[in-house]
């Protein structure tokens, strides 16, 4: 009798995943500039979606205000490089630290709210962030500012090298976020989080501190979201309150990705991001019709497959590429 936490499918997926990762790492030598930009953006959305999925799908923290941290991180990149003279890479890490710090008082405030009120609360906080940054004239006030050429040039010599670096940073953060989410969910804390999702009464009676577990998830997700925000605006080179705290760009699309891919699974946001970018690239010429198509797709998936596309796959093939659970292997055990 033994207990296993892996499967044949997961081992094959890990090998294939490592192969894909190598191909992606050497992309600057085989992909065009436009493709690399697109992939860089895709990785950043993948990272945002994985974090939102951890919060909403596992911790039950349905936030519609994560743009608060995307924008905050972006502004911290500008502030730390322009005023403190930090190199951009250090400023990205700094944005993460500051994002964690600012999320603590925010959490103390909004964790008093439950369910729908929590969601509304997060949106209100994001608006407060937007209005506050619009007041800071040193950062361009309501009209925003650009990253000085000197700072951009300090990253690497030449445009190609800079674009390759920013591509690798995006790939790196997406990889790290997914790896961190996976490791966290397999840990003792992750087991506690899954228990909370299923039954809060039983979880608290079995020694799990619900508030504290959710708090850790919220602060960690916020810090990483701020780092992603810093990267997003390092690619854009320009920031304004409306772009930085856009609910459409940084929350609505992210929710779309997670919902169609499959909420509450690590695989879901990956599938969702691929589908979102496929739709966007094929339908972008249609203008507003593109957004209507996204809406119809989201509604159809919610009605036909509430657990998303990965939910369908998992139900049919019992497949898990990122196994989180435990399986008892024994001739005494049924149900395999």
């Amino acid at each position: 009798m033994r207990v296993t936490r892996t499967s044949q499918a997961a081992k094959i997926a890990a090998i294939l995943g490592a192969g894909v990762l190598v191909v992606l790492i050497i992309a600057p030598w085989w992909a065009g500039r436009a493709d690399m930009r697109l992939m860089g953006e895709l990785f950043l959305y993948l990272a945002l979606a994985s974090l939102w999925n951890l919060m909403a799908g596992y911790a039950g923290l349905v936030s519609v205000g994560q743009q608060a941290y995307v924008g905050f991180g972006g502004y911290m990149l500008f502030a730390l490089t322009i005023f403190a003279g930090f190199p951009p890479i250090v400023a990205i890490a700094g944005a993460g630290v500051l994002g964690a710090l600012i999320s603590v008082p925010v959490a103390l405030l909004i964790f008093r709210l439950r369910g729908a009120y929590f969601a509304i609360g997060t949106w209100v906080i994001a608006e407060v962030f937007r209005l506050s940054f619009a007041q800071i004239s040193a950062l361009g006030g309501g009209s925003g500012s650009s990253l000085p050429v000197k700072i951009v040039r300090s990253m690497a010599d030449g445009r190609l090298a800079r674009e390759a670096l920013s591509y690798w940073l995006a790939l790196g953060i997406a990889f790290c976020v997914i790896a961190a989410v996976y490791m966290f969910l397999r840990s003792r804390q992750g087991l506690a989080l899954t228990a909370i999702r299923d039954n809060e009464l039983a979880a608290s009676s079995l020694g799990i501190d619900i508030w504290w577990t959710k708090f850790i998830v919220y602060v960690a997700a916020s810090a990483l979201t701020a780092m992603i925000g810093a990267l997003i605006f390092l690619q854009k080179l320009r920031i304004s309150p409306d772009a930085a705290f856009s609910v459409n760009d940084w929350t609505a699309f992210v929710i779309f990705i997670v919902v169609i891919g499959g909420i509450g699974t690590i695989e879901g946001p990956i599938i969702g991001t691929l589908i979102f970018f496929a739709l966007r690239e094929t339908l972008a010429d249609l203008g507003t019709v593109y957004l209507m198509v996204l809406g119809v797709v989201a509604i159809l998936i919610m009605l036909r497959a509430p657990k998303g596309i990965w939910g369908l796959v998992r139900a049919r093939f019992d497949l898990q590429l990122f196994p989180l659970g435990y399986r008892v292997v024994s001739d005494k055990v049924k149900g395999d």
């Binding site: 003792r188 608290s204 501190d209 008892v328 024994s330 049924k334």
Partner: protein, 242 residues
């Protein structure tokens, strides 16, 4: 021996309804205590007050010589109390084994293969091993009750609190349940057990407490208590003349 649990004047009411009325008693370490009383008497409420799911309006809960009245349910559990719920509360989306692992890792603080081993042993003891990989949400009521006992045991408690786990069992299952609880008790675990299946209770406990309308009505050796006229009248609903 020092008392493991003391209740001092625990009171709780919801509006005008009094669900716990100045409950006071002591339980010695290693004791097995039975709780009986009619439906709605406040037995489960008393459990909720002891474990911290509910906060009392008045009174204190002393556990292992510590005043735990202000502690959260989670903290009290980590100190060493584990309960089963009368209405089963499984983690429906997780397998039976994972349910057990929650208790072993979070409540008992075990990790790695030690936790896994401990869960497998308990599952064997509670006859759930063959369903270890089944989702808890797809179990029938009887197996859900077994899962409640499993989780409570995997928490490795000093005080095991059981809330009506014998109801609905067949005679042979009931006998094996009594054996399991006697085993746990023999290992030095204190047991407090709410049960309507009186013969199962009588086989295990050293002392009985009768509760009605949130009040302690009687307390003493099981046989004496069951024979007393108040219990016959209040609990069994038999009219006693004179």
């Amino acid at each position: 021996m020092s008392p493991i649990l003391q209740l001092r004047g625990l009171s709780k009411s919801f509006g005008a309804v009094v669900v716990a009325d100045k409950l006071s008693y002591e339980m010695q370490s290693g004791e097995a205590l039975g709780i009986i009383g009619p439906n709605g008497a406040g037995k489960t409420t008393m459990f909720n007050l002891i474990t911290g799911t509910l906060t009392p309006d008045k009174g204190d809960v002393i556990f292992l010589s510590k005043d735990v009245t202000k502690y959260s349910a989670a903290r009290r559990c980590r100190l060493g109390m584990a309960r089963s719920f009368q209405v089963p509360q499984p983690f429906s989306g997780m397998t039976v084994f994972e349910n057990a692992m929650i208790a072993a890792t979070q409540a008992a603080g075990l990790s790695g293969w030690v936790a896994e081993d401990s869960c497998l042993k308990v599952l064997e003891q509670t006859n759930l091993l063959d369903k270890a990989n089944v989702l808890a949400g797809s179990l029938n009521l009887l197996d859900r009750k077994r899962l409640e006992l499993t989780r409570a045991l995997c928490a490795k408690p000093k005080l095991l609190m059981l809330d009506e786990i014998a109801g609905g069992l067949t005679e042979s299952e009931c006998i094996s349940l009594v054996h399991t609880i006697k085993d746990i008790h023999a290992q030095g675990v204190s047991v407090i057990w709410i049960e309507h299946v009186v013969h199962a209770l009588m086989a295990v406990v050293d002392r009985l407490i009768v509760i009605d309308f949130g009040k302690k009505i009687a307390e003493g050796p099981p046989k004496e208590i069951m024979a007393s006229s108040e219990v016959q009248e209040i609990y069994l609903g038999i009219e006693v003349d004179g």
